[in-house]
């Protein structure tokens, strides 16, 4: 019935408007393709040989090969293994994300479900730390690290990434926890449910998707970070982005290898981002936009 109404409604649209709709849809497709093109080019080039990667005009239909990936993973015998930096990035991102959750979830609880007095002031304090450029605190951190022998240690990055993502996570988590209906909480406490039961049975199911989204966004920001990693790490604790910047050599062709590296290193973020797609806006806007 509704479907039929919809169809007649559509048929009643004047032809000019229908044509305009089609044109706008086409325009949207063209814009989508244009924005996607550099990524598609990166992936395509990563499967070309070095010679095919660096031609003018571009060789779009060149045969595909895994050469770039073999070069990147060190099988070509030419390079340093990318595994230590990849593992460093993974450690820094995963551990700092876990720390962020451990700190942010209770904090968000104390800011939404059982709010402390002046909770919004606390929220704005958290946010204001995010507004200050990281680079301003870099030097003291460097000096402290130098004196405590923490330079070139992945744990230093873990601490810094935790502080970098904590404000965002608190804001996100608060907006997710604020969605827990107060009436149900009250009903539960009247029925004599303890704190643990309330958390496990009522808060957790509502908050779980939010916790997952917070974790994914925190992971993405840590994985992407370059400045701290570049200044504070060296051979031992260098992360994937630092490794990537060191991959470009002044001699020889390297484009396919760099594209392969860029693809491999972007893959975790792409997966995390697409997984969090629904909650991405809410996270990026600190929970202000739903």
């Amino acid at each position: 019935m509704t479907r039929g109404a919809h169809l007649t409604g559509r048929a009643r649209l004047p032809r000019r408007q229908r044509r305009a709709n089609g044109a706008l849809g086409l325009l949207a497709w063209l814009c989508g393709i244009a924005f996607f093109l550099p990524v598609a080019w990166m992936v395509l080039t990563s499967f070309h040989t070095e010679n095919d990667a660096a031609t003018n005009p571009p060789s779009v239909a060149a045969p595909l090969t895994l050469h770039g990936y073999r070069e990147f993973f060190g099988a070509g015998g030419s390079g340093v293994s990318p595994w230590p930096p990849l593992i460093n990035s993974l450690t820094a991102s995963v551990v700092s994300t876990l720390l962020v959750l451990v700190l942010a979830v209770p904090a968000a609880y104390a800011l939404s479900i059982r709010p402390v007095r002046k909770w919004s002031d606390v929220m704005f304090f958290f946010l204001s730390t995010k507004m200050l450029p990281l680079v301003a605190g870099l030097l003291p951190v460097y000096l402290v690290a130098q004196n405590t022998r923490m330079l070139d240690s992945i744990w230093l990055l873990v601490i810094l990434y935790t502080s970098m993502n904590l404000p965002i996570a608190v804001w996100m988590m608060r907006s997710f926890l604020a969605e827990v209906p107060v009436e149900i909480l009250e009903a539960a406490s009247i029925d004599g449910a303890g704190l643990t039961t309330t958390l496990a049975r009522i808060v957790a199911p509502v908050a779980m998707p939010g916790i997952a989204a917070t974790a994914l966004i925190s992971f993405i920001f840590s994985w992407n970070e370059l400045l701290f990693a570049r200044v504070l790490t060296g051979i031992v604790a260098g992360t994937a982005p630092v490794f990537l910047t060191g991959l470009v050599t002044s001699q020889g062709l390297f484009l396919a290898k760099v594209c392969a590296a860029a693809t491999v290193i972007s893959l975790p973020v792409l997966i995390a981002g697409f997984a969090a797609q629904d909650k991405l806006v809410q996270g990026l806007s600190l929970g202000a936009v739903k």
Binding site: N21, G25, F35, P106, F124, M131, V135, A261, Q277, A288
Partner: protein, 306 residues
């Protein structure tokens, strides 16, 4: 006596409420606020790691150097120009794309996913791709496409501009606009979709043109989303380091403030001056941050009253 006892229990209850908050708060103060205090202190010292014997109290010398240094003044201009251009262009593009995506058409989900992808490529990786695979003057895709197009029309002398040398700042800006347009689009699209549908329908019934609907209904509704997207974008893009570092290494007038501070500290080892630069940058960002916080707080207050 009794009041003191209730005082004590109420205070205990207050602390029980605060307890879950404290670890996060203490951690954040220790890791982000203390270093900044140290930065302020160091900014008043004469301290170059290459000349350790000359260390001492410098009063305002570093600040004087900061404000009289033409390179730093240039980098302030670059930062403002870079940030303003990237934020405005990506906001406009993001608005256009959000409006396109707000309508139903075949394959909308696919287009949305394609549009988000630039934001999900690791920033260093995307900067490298723009530099080597797109801008490169001998085999980049941009000049390569020009060659291909010109050959299509039978010419063997296609223009082959060297994008990064001719317009280095634009090259950096373009890659950042590509990266940040999806961010703006996502926020504005969420704004569009929270627009009350019945008002639009009523206006259409009353014979309002699509432009009138956009001008008098959509735009006012979107205003705060536009503000929020612009301010958050500003906060992130002011701090940009990856693109400037990777694409031009701060050369040819593209050094923004974060890159300049990085250089003063990491290459010139002038700790005192780098700290003074850091303090100046923080004071400038506080200006932007105040506006950003006010916008966010108005959205938050709306949520509370709802």
């Amino acid at each position: 006596m009794r009041t003191r006892a209730t005082d004590r229990t109420s205070r205990a209850r207050d602390w029980a409420r605060r307890a879950p908050l404290l670890p996060a708060l203490v951690f954040l103060i220790a890791v982000t606020q203390l270093p900044f205090v140290a930065t302020v202190v160091i900014s008043f010292t004469r301290w170059n790691a290459l000349a350790p014997d000359h260390r001492g109290f410098a009063a305002f010398d570093n600040y004087l150097a900061v404000f009289t240094d033409p390179a730093l003044r240039a980098s302030v201009g670059t930062t403002v120009l870079l940030t303003a251009t990237v934020v405005l262009v990506s906001l406009l593009l993001g608005l256009g794309l959000a409006l396109l995506l707000d309508r139903g058409f075949r394959g909308r989900g696919v287009v949305r996913t394609m549009l988000i992808t630039p934001f999900l490529v690791v920033p260093v990786a995307s900067a490298l791709i723009w530099k080597h695979a797109l801008y490169n003057a001998s085999y980049g895709l941009l000049d390569g496409s020009l060659t291909w197009l010109w050959r299509l029309f039978g010419s063997d002398h296609p223009p082959q501009p060297d994008w990064m040398t001719n317009s280095p700042l634009t090259a950096v800006e373009l890659s950042l606009i590509w990266q940040w347009t999806p961010f703006m689009m996502l926020i504005l699209l969420a704004g569009l979709q929270s627009r009350p549908a019945d008002a639009v329908e009523a206006a259409r019934m009353d014979g309002a043109s699509p432009f009138d609907i956009f001008r008098y209904l959509t735009l006012p509704h979107l205003r705060r989303y536009l503000e929020l997207a612009a301010l958050l974008g500003t906060v992130y893009i002011v701090q940009n380091f990856d693109a400037v570092f990777t694409i031009t290494s701060g050369g040819l007038g593209t050094a923004n403030l974060p890159y300049t501070i990085y250089q003063t500290f990491y290459q010139a080892h002038d700790y005192g001056r780098a700290s003074a630069q850091g303090v100046v940058v923080v004071l400038c960002s506080l200006l932007v941050a105040t506006f950003a916080l006010r916008t966010v707080s108005s959205l938050l207050r709306e949520e509370i009253t709802r």
